[in-house]
């Protein structure tokens, strides 16, 4: 007698709606990553402690007194996000490579780009969680108001681009011999325009500049996000096929 409760259920994915199936597949991967992370808390705690250390070190490296603060805050924040992001991206792809998880994912009957979007979104969520903690902490420690809607929008846009191109490059770097050493070397020069535009726009919002001055880097950020999401979507197949 087969127990009904342990019996394999037939696939419930409907074949009629490909868009819904795609969204479901992406959500499943995001959910898997979040749940795994919620249980181990390895990646998240590493990113968070690293970010805290960065802020403390920058304080002494740059002598963050009241006058300097306004002009360098954006730079400090983005360096922190970029390095902490690299840490997270490396880890998130390394656990897939470890014990053949990626092969398991590849066997799933879903479009390969669903894997890309799933991983990119979960990487983005990790970055955003860290940012949600770092931004108030920075505001509190340095007595500078970072809760400007424009600045928060820039942080979101910048993180989207960084996670989009980072997920693609991390997928490649974890498959090489040098593994995690390679990711920052590959990612930072390519993400250079993104970081530059993000810093420029953030400084603009922090110093209360005119919109005319900020709109250019904001447009550049949006353009970067769109271009690199599109490219990663197109070439992701080539970086995971075995």
């Amino acid at each position: 007698m087969i127990d009904k409760s342990t019996e394999m259920k037939p696939m419930t994915i409907e074949r009629t709606n490909p868009v819904m199936n795609f969204v479901k597949a992406v959500a499943a991967i995001v959910w898997k990553d979040l749940r795994a992370e919620f249980r181990s808390r390895e990646l998240f705690s590493a990113m968070l402690v690293f970010s805290a250390l960065m802020i403390v070190i920058f304080n002494f490296a740059l002598e963050l007194d009241v006058k300097v603060r306004q002009s360098v805050t954006a730079g400090v924040l983005w360096s922190t996000f970029a390095f902490a992001g690299t840490l997270g991206l490396n880890r998130s792809m390394a656990i897939e490579k470890d014990r053949g998880c990626l092969d398991g994912l590849l066997l799933a009957p879903v479009d390969r780009s669903a894997i890309y979007f799933g991983k990119a979104i979960s990487n983005l969520i990790f970055m955003l969680i860290v940012e949600v903690i770092v931004v108030p902490a920075y505001s509190f420690l340095y007595n500078i108001n970072l809760f400007i809607p424009g600045l928060l929008m820039i942080i979101l846009l910048g993180s989207i681009g960084y996670a989009a191109v980072g997920t693609l490059l991390a997928t490649m770097s974890t498959q090489t011999r040098t593994q995690d050493i390679l990711l920052p070397i590959l990612l930072l020069p390519v993400a250079f325009p993104l970081l530059l535009a993000a810093i420029k726009a953030s400084t603009g919002f922090l110093t209360g500049a005119e919109w005319a001055e900020i709109s250019l880097p904001v447009n550049l950020l949006i353009a970067y996000d769109v271009i690199f999401i599109a490219i990663a979507f197109m070439v992701f197949d080539s970086v995971i096929e075995e």
Binding site: T176, L196, I231
Partner: protein
């Protein structure tokens, strides 16, 4: 082993000859620039190498797309050849520009859009070779190389626009004018001759090196195959 094709041998000799002529034109024939003096003569080779390096990088991005579509390793060898030669040419461009900038701008280096883009571009293509070095499987190496060359090739022009958000002091010699640029000048007919000859020279040298490098890639491939045959 196939010997070097005759056309390539001829091109090798032609490259050396045109380089000699171009050096003569740049150092002796071209008139001395009034304000900057002799150091301006660096400019001819500076533009010559920059021009060919950029063409090489653009070609490489094109080869990426073709490789990703056709999956034919021939395109990968073309890509490596183009990037390797361009990387060296671009380094020469930066070095020559730096020599010129010292008297003209009174500094070896400044974070101007062109200079920064050049530096970041060099870093992207150095990273490209580091990526390739970490992969043993030729087919995978080619795939990853093509993806990275494509991503890098698209990011480099965006970097240029991004830094344009800040002001530039780099002169635009060929067209347009920039009031903030320092060290721009107008060319006399003799200077133009030298300039275009330098462009021609470096294009010829680029093709020659490119061809030699492709040949080297083909030979490497053959050696690998022969080694495999021996071990089997």
């Amino acid at each position: 082993m196939q010997s070097k094709p005759l056309a390539l041998k001829i091109l090798d000799v032609v490259s050396i000859i045109v380089l000699g002529i171009s050096t003569y034109l740049a150092l002796v024939f071209a008139p001395k620039e009034l304000v900057m003096g002799d150091v301006q003569r660096v400019f001819y080779f500076h533009i010559g190498t920059a021009w060919t390096a950029l063409i090489g990088f653009i070609l490489a991005a094109g080869f990426s797309v073709v490789y990703l579509i056709t999956k034919n390793l021939k395109w990968d060898r073309l890509q490596v050849a183009a990037i390797e030669v361009s990387l060296v040419f671009f380094l020469i461009t930066i070095a020559l520009g730096s020599i010129w900038a010292r008297p003209a701008w009174n500094t070896w280096w400044t974070w101007d859009p062109r200079l920064t883009t050049a530096a970041v571009t060099e870093l992207i293509y150095i990273a490209y070779f580091m990526l390739r070095q970490g992969i043993d499987e030729p087919e995978k190496r080619a795939r990853f190389g093509a993806v990275y060359a494509l991503v890098g090739g698209i990011s480099a022009p965006i970097t240029f626009f991004a830094i344009r958000l800040f002001r530039t002091i780099h002169p635009v010699v060929i067209s347009g004018s920039n009031a903030a640029a320092q060290g721009s000048f107008n060319m006399t007919p003799d200077m133009l001759t030298t300039f275009f000859f330098a462009l021609f020279t470096f294009t010829v040298i680029f093709i020659d090196l490119f061809w030699n490098r492709i040949r080297l890639g083909d030979l490497q491939e053959r050696v690998e195959q022969l080694k495999l045959k021996v071990t089997m």
